[in-house]
């Protein structure tokens, strides 16, 4: 995300085949993208902003509004006596974290193993193919599958019943087990993808850096913690923030798993599930608008962190420089 930023900043100066008479083609080729963006993304976004300041909902068969109501909608989503923004954000982030923490640990480990020259593991292609697979599976279908397996009459409970005096464990009537299942699915769907991203980052590390450390007698643990990790920090930040943005949009998995209810008792209701309820079922456009705007602001802030965070990544370059100098000195010493 941010490397693109850096690329973008360098791009301007170059003069490419754009002599005057071809200039207009640049604009012409952009038309479809820009027009579609304006109609299907920019305009709806403006509309969303607009509705967030209006009282506009349906009760029974009659519509109320749209009446301008200032920031009442925002006040309503911060109202602790009902479903509020903090509870929704908390639910969303907890389920995200349950999936993300094991995901980053396992992905780091796998990426390190896959790229480790000394280990020289076989069959990496097969492992990569398998662990990436869940990422392409329809999240809603996967969630339905997990629901069928973990429901009160599902096969998992058949096993539990034999150990538990014939009583099933009601996974979906319990906040933590429901959150755990959502986290498990998110983990399975994303750890392969993260592994591949981190692998690409680790393969980009200059080998002389590792070589230099080995000559200095660093163990593999030291190399991992003191060299690999700091050098891939930009990608780690990228993975963290894109995952967080993706996590805030969590919808398919909990929606299907809980049948859109966020059960038990709204404790697994995510931001986007609530948004979906307000647009689709309860038709409260004012509240839906306010939720959208808050999510928009959070995501935009997170995106800016990535965008600017990458552009000024000094640590990597400095570490590379230092390592190269060390290696040079070492070679010179040996040569004498």
């Amino acid at each position: 995300m941010a490397q693109p930023a850096a690329v973008g900043m360098q791009a301007p100066a170059k003069k490419k085949g754009g002599i005057g008479k071809y200039k207009k083609w640049g604009y012409i080729f952009m038309i479809p993208f820009v027009v579609v963006f304006l109609i299907f993304q920019a305009w709806p976004l403006i509309q969303t902003f607009y509705y967030s300041f209006f009282e506009y909902y349906k009760t029974g068969l009659t519509w109320v509004g749209p009446n301008f109501c200032g920031i009442d909608n925002f006040a309503a989503i911060f109202d602790f006596s009902r479903v509020n923004l903090f509870a929704l954000t908390y639910n969303t982030l907890v389920m995200w974290a349950i999936g993300f923490i094991p995901q980053i640990i396992i992905s780091l480990l796998f990426a390190y193993w896959f790229t480790n020259v000394r280990l020289r593991l076989k069959c990496m292609g097969i492992f990569k193919t398998i662990i990436y697979m869940p990422n392409l599976i329809m999240a809603s279908a996967f969630s339905m599958l997990i629901f069928s397996l973990f429901s009160d009459i599902g096969p998992i409970n058949e096993i539990i019943k034999t150990f538990n005096n014939g009583e099933p464990f009601r996974f979906l009537s319990n906040t933590w087990s429901t959150m755990g299942l959502v986290g498990l699915m998110n983990f399975m769907m994303w750890f392969g993808n993260t592994t591949i991203l981190l692998m690409a980052a680790m393969m980009g590390i200059n080998e002389s850096v590792i070589e230099a450390a080995e000559i200095d007698g660093a163990g593999s643990g030291q190399i991992f913690w003191k060299i690999t990790l700091p050098l891939i920090r930009p990608i780690l930040v990228y993975v963290l923030i894109t995952s967080l943005i993706g996590g805030l949009q969590m919808f398919d998995v909990p929606q299907i798993l809980t049948g859109g209810m966020g059960s038990p008792n709204n404790t697994t209701l995510t931001l986007i599930m609530y948004l979906n309820n307000n647009i689709g079922t309860s038709r409260n456009y004012g509240i839906a608008g306010a939720i959208s705007i808050v999510v928009f602001i959070i995501c935009a802030a997170l995106s800016l962190v990535v965008y600017y965070g990458f552009a000024q990544d000094k640590t990597t370059r400095e570490a590379n420089k230092r390592a190269k100098a060390a290696l040079k000195a070492e070679r010179a010493r040996r040569g004498q």
């Binding site: 993304q41 969303t48 280990l119 097969i126 398998i130 392409l136 329809m138 990535v306």
Partner: protein
């Protein structure tokens, strides 16, 4: 597995005799490798387990499934398939066709027009070009869900509810595809070719279609797969836009399945529905996994 094991031993023996830095690691390295394989195998099996159970259960009859797990297929694949496709409330074959139309068209449109946009930025110099480039990068991470309310009301006003237009047309403006394409062009689209085409009298639009697109083919194919899969799996926007049951795409049918009373399910049929929703993408994936994974990695390095 056992064959791999020998090769590992063999290679580590080689290293030892070769006297490279691995020597001091000795048996430690072998243990490390074994640990790696055990952990990798565990997580691979975890990934495969649920899908294996899905496939097995799709071949078993309802009463058989209710008795618990089985690792061997049953004989009811045909029965389950027939009862699934003849279910009137969830017309699954219709759904597969709808999903194929929506995902296929979104995939085609997104790669074609996003490549065209990337081409405009890459090849031509014009005012506002850098602004547009940076702008597209910024909108790349902004989720589509936040404009869903506006999209929903807009479609209601313009009579686009219950049509595929709001599901397909927005694919034309795909920032991630655009970004991937522009990176690819930087590495493998020499501007001399375009210059040469101009000298030969080819128009700009024709140059793009007949000379540039074929060069971009590998990138187009990978992005086409990703766009197709994300449209195939998309749940949020269709759930707001589509109402008629014969127009529903697969994720909506899965949701419908979930909202039915699960105590009255014919589970053979349920697993068959899930199987039918997942399997087309899986077949494509296993045929093309090499390219897909390479595509993820390239995106990752560049991003």
């Amino acid at each position: 597995m056992s064959k791999d094991y020998k090769t590992i031993e063999h290679s580590s023996a080689l290293q030892r005799s070769g006297g490279d830095p691995d020597m001091k690691a000795g048996p430690g390295l072998l243990i490390h490798r074994i640990v790696c394989y055990v952990v990798l195998t565990f997580f691979s099996l975890l990934c495969l387990f649920f899908f294996y159970i899905l496939i097995i259960n799709a071949t078993r009859a309802h009463y058989d499934i209710m008795r618990g797990f089985s690792f061997f297929p049953g004989g009811s694949f045909g029965t389950n398939f027939m009862s699934a496709v003849s279910n009137d409330t969830i017309p699954i074959l219709n759904g597969m066709l709808n999903s194929l139309i929506v995902a296929g068209l979104s995939g085609l449109l997104s790669v074609y027009f996003s490549a065209m946009t990337a081409y405009a930025i890459h090849v031509y110099d014009f005012k506002g070009k850098n602004f547009i480039f940076n702008f597209i990068l910024i909108i790349m991470t902004i989720p589509t869900q936040i404009s869903a309310l506006g999209l929903f009301t807009m479609c209601s006003d313009w009579g686009l509810r219950d049509t595929y237009i709001p599901l397909i047309i927005p694919a034309i403006a795909a920032p991630t595809v655009f970004f991937f394409m522009i990176q690819y062009m930087k590495s493998s689209l020499p501007l001399d070719i375009i210059e040469a085409a101009r000298i030969d009298g080819s128009g700009e639009f024709r140059t793009f279609n007949t000379i540039v697109l074929p060069i971009l083919k590998p990138a187009l194919a990978v992005q086409m797969i990703f766009s197709f899969v994300s449209a195939w799996n998309n749940f949020f926007v269709p759930s707001l836009i589509i109402d008629t049951s014969t127009k529903k795409t697969l994720p909506l049918m899965i949701a419908q399945l979930r909202s039915a009373d699960f105590l009255k399910f014919d589970y053979g049929q349920v697993y068959m529905f899930i199987f039918l929703a997942i399997i087309p993408v899986m077949i494509v994936y296993f045929c093309l996994s090499k390219f897909i994974i390479a595509g993820v990695a390239v995106g990752g390095v560049k991003e």
